[in-house]
């Protein structure tokens, strides 16, 4: 088991040796502390946390995600520096750029193509849930999230794409 701690990364564990479960690298955009704690306490997740969409977009730009696909090996000698992520989880309402704006922006720039994008909300809204699925968002969870369900869902969505 390997733990790598670095700026912006709460935990980075490649493979859980005991269970052989895959570790999922999550970009979480939002400010729900209890959700961050939930993820960071579960060894199947490693989390990059950005508090809103604008900060996340800056982080994406600064990390050359747009050129990442073509130059993956050249850019990242060390695997643990590799910014590749398995899923994006984003709170619906964020200052500056809400989840839909953020989703559309990364889609427009073709960053993270095929990576599951999941929206979190504090209050269930039937219309909003329908809007999510109609817009191509991969899932919609009400907080607090069942972490086992989230893990299984990301695995399914990743294999689907």
């Amino acid at each position: 088991m390997t733990f790598i701690l670095k700026e912006g990364v709460i935990k980075n564990i490649e493979i859980m040796e005991e269970s052989k479960e895959i570790t999922l690298k999550i970009l979480y955009v939002g400010n729900d502390i209890s959700f961050i704690n939930q993820l960071s306490e579960d060894k199947r997740f490693s989390v990059v946390h950005k508090s809103n969409g604008l900060i996340a977009m800056n982080w994406i730009t600064n990390n050359n995600f747009d050129v990442f696909k073509e130059n993956k090996e050249a850019l990242y000698f060390n695997h643990y520096d590799c910014p590749e992520i398995d899923a994006i989880i984003c709170n619906i309402y964020l200052p500056g750029m809400n989840a839909f704006d953020f989703f559309n922006e990364i889609k427009r720039k073709k960053i993270f193509d095929g990576i599951p994008f999941i929206i979190l909300t504090n209050k269930f809204d039937f219309q909003l849930r329908n809007r999510c699925i109609q817009n191509g968002i991969d899932d919609y969870y009400n907080l607090p999230v069942n972490i086992q369900n989230l893990y299984e869902r990301i695995i399914f969505l990743s294999h689907r794409k």
Binding site: N130, Q134, E152, F156
Partner: protein, 131 residues
């Protein structure tokens, strides 16, 4: 008209369901759980799902697990169809998240009655949640 998704690998069952239910419901049929999940993920959320247990590619148990782990689909009423009468299979389905269990061969009128009751309950639930 309420949309019902029926999943069964047996053509004869799909035929019975389509022809019995098409007056009352907008009915869509699929032959396995994976096909159904992909269809749902493409933006189609049914009001209720009827699902066989023993199917190729993705069986009913795996299907329950997959939809109940999703925030999109976790509250859709789910009725399981099975040729198995054993209590352990019924219990497993309910524990995994199924709402009802019907043994094949079934009386289509009984299935329709159960579907209508489930849909009424769901409407009341959604109305009270303010949706």
């Amino acid at each position: 008209m309420k949309k019902i998704l029926a999943i069964d690998d047996e053509k004869s069952i799909r035929f019975i369901i389509e022809n019995t239910f098409n007056k009352d419901f907008d009915i869509v049929t699929m032959s396995n759980g994976k096909e159904a999940l992909y269809w749902m993920q493409a933006g189609n959320i049914p009001d209720l799902i009827i699902c066989d247990i023993e199917m190729p590619v993705m069986d009913g148990f795996e299907f329950i697990k997959k939809i109940r782990s999703s925030g999109f689909f976790d509250d859709i009423p789910l009725i399981m169809l099975s040729g198995k009468e054993e209590s352990k299979d019924k219990i497993k389905c309910f524990e995994m998240g199924a709402d009802d269990y019907i043994i094949k061969p079934f009386n289509p009128k009984e299935l329709i009655a159960r579907i209508k009751r489930r849909l009424q309950s769901r409407d009341i639930y959604l109305e009270r949640r303010g949706n």
